[in-house]
């Protein structure tokens, strides 16, 4: 019952961005993947979500090899990506975006219950349910992207830089929600440059630099590590 990456290599054209990443996300946990811009964090997530075919290595979900599957097949196995660019449906309403989040599901009652769940998590989205997604603020768009991901009732949420471009107070709010999401039983693979915020909510962390995992440990251990403090926590 674990999401595992073993020796993932990936890149674009001639560029080798990810050079052998191995990590594990146990069920119901938040695992942070930290590192500077360009380290290969987003590329790693794109591989897991099926948007990019790896050049080597394996992604295993409960032992099944899923690397190279198309994104819709990955989603149906219980992995939902919330990408850095959010990739919302801009002229559709908040409600329609959420509805499409549940596209792969057929259980109407379950979908309705999960809609209530995400509205309880992000009350702002309920207020804005008839507004087109493009009219939302940056923070609201991030909430909608996370909520849309949750509407597929994933076992694993793959979150790419949720803090990007948001004010500090809003970042705190979003990260508090991640703890609530974990309480619902969804595991999170959290890619972040904001290591301080990520390590406050994560159970475990990995530090990725130039495509290679440099450090790994419990969130508390990483937060106390001198190298991590110097490089990412100031």
């Amino acid at each position: 019952m674990t999401l595992e990456l073993a020796g993932i290599e990936a890149g674009y054209g001639g560029a080798r961005v990810v050079q052998g990443v191995s990590l594990a996300v146990p069920p119901g946990r938040i695992v942070a993947l930290l590192g500077p811009n360009g380290a290969g964090k987003s590329t790693t997530l794109r591989v897991v979500a099926g948007l990019l075919r790896p050049r080597g290595g394996e992604v295993r979900l409960d032992g099944e090899r899923i690397a190279g599957l198309p994104p819709d097949a990955v989603l149906r196995r219980g992995l939902a990506l919330v990408p850095e660019r959010r990739e919302l449906f801009p002229s559709l309403s908040v409600a329609e975006n959420l509805d499409l989040g549940a596209y792969a599901r057929r259980d109407r009652a379950g979908i309705a219950a999960d809609l209530e769940m995400v509205f309880a998590l992000f009350p702002r989205l309920r207020e804005r349910r008839t507004q087109p997604a493009r009219t939302l603020s940056g923070g609201e768009q991030q909430m909608l992207a996370i909520a849309r991901g949750l509407m597929s009732r994933p076992r694993y949420l793959l979150l790419d830089e949720p803090s990007l471009g948001l004010a500090p107070l809003l970042i705190e709010e979003i990260f508090r929600k991640l703890v609530e999401i974990r309480a619902h039983g969804t595991a999170i693979l959290l890619v972040e440059q904001n290591a301080a915020a990520a390590l406050r909510v994560a159970d475990h962390g990995y530090v990725l630099e130039t495509g290679i995992i440099r450090l790994e440990g419990s969130a508390a251990a990483l937060a106390a590590d001198d190298a991590v403090r110097d490089a990412y926590l100031r």
Binding site: L51, P70, D72, F89, P90, S91, L92, L100, Y103
Partner: protein, 288 residues
């Protein structure tokens, strides 16, 4: 006189609108401009004739056969030609559509001969007069069927799972993929859908003109209508189609019938030069 032009113009306009929708429905999701669409339209009309004359099918069954085969042909183009070309430059795909069109056109000329075939009207072609306007039941049927197909298209996009997946891909292909929509699957549907729209146009148009392998040139009219509508707006494509039909008929009446075809090309060129986004198109944010 103006009312008569409007009434006569909407018949051609309805057909142009369907062809324009065929272009736009496909292009919005795949970025491909299908220059073989006009020839697919011809093929669909021929299938009706083949069904009736050679297979002895009733008219309705021949139409159904034609629509099904047209949809299948569209999906086949996606699976057999476009999918293997994925990743190659857009221009290569567009040239492939030209090749498909030429193959269909010349295949029809070789197998069905260059001479026109008669195609039955949906309703009587005998005109009648109502309130001073000359109306033709066959033409009214064309407009009625075209409008019904357009309504069905919008209802499908709005209320069906099939349609919602298409709208999601129109809005954001990456977003669609990550909510579990198979984008290649939607592309196949769009090819089928675009082909069916062209098929309806072909079956409606064939009795009014003559069914010959070169009937596909009305594809250019549909293309001009789509350009007028901005090429990325479905309502724009419909408006562009009716506008072109009416303007063309007006030019035929006030200038000369020989001017009719020139008008579409003039509108096409004028629109590209002066209004590159068309009358209804919106600016498009392209990803870098």
């Amino acid at each position: 006189m103006l009312a008569q032009i409007l009434v006569s113009g909407v018949t051609a306009g309805a057909v142009y609108a369907l062809v324009a929708l065929g272009f736009v429905v496909l292009h919005r999701g795949t970025r491909v401009v299908h220059f073989g669409l006009g020839d697919q339209l011809t093929l669909s009309a021929y299938i009706v004739v083949i069904g009736q004359v050679f297979l002895g099918l009733p008219f309705a069954a021949a139409i159904l056969l034609s629509l099904l085969l047209s949809a299948g042909f569209g999906v086949l183009i996606e699976r057999g030609v476009m999918r293997p070309l994925r990743g190659s430059p857009l221009l290569v795909m567009i040239i492939a559509t030209l090749a498909i069109g030429a193959a269909v056109r010349e295949g029809l000329r070789a197998s069905m001969g260059p001479l026109p075939w008669p195609v039955p009207f949906l309703l009587s072609p005998a005109p009648f007069t109502l309130g001073g306007l000359v109306l033709v039941p066959a033409n009214l049927a064309v407009v009625g069927v075209a409008l019904a197909v357009m309504l069905a298209l919008f209802a499908m996009l709005r209320w069906t799972r099939f349609g919602r997946a298409i709208v999601a891909v129109y809005e954001n292909p990456t977003g669609a993929a990550i909510v579990g929509i198979s984008v290649p699957g939607v592309h196949a549907r769009l090819w089928g859908l675009s082909s069916v729209l062209a098929a309806v146009a072909g079956i409606l148009m064939a009795p009014l003109i003559t069914l010959s392998p070169d009937m596909g040139t009305i594809g250019i009219k549909g293309f001009a209508a789509a350009i007028l509508g901005g090429f990325n707006s479905l309502p724009g494509a419909i408006a562009g189609g009716f506008l072109l039909g009416i303007v063309e008929t007006g030019a035929g009446v006030y200038v000369s019938t020989a001017m009719k075809d020139i008008v579409s090309y003039a509108l096409l060129i004028g629109c590209v030069l002066l209004l590159p986004r068309g009358l209804f198109g919106t600016a498009e944010a392209r990803k870098v």
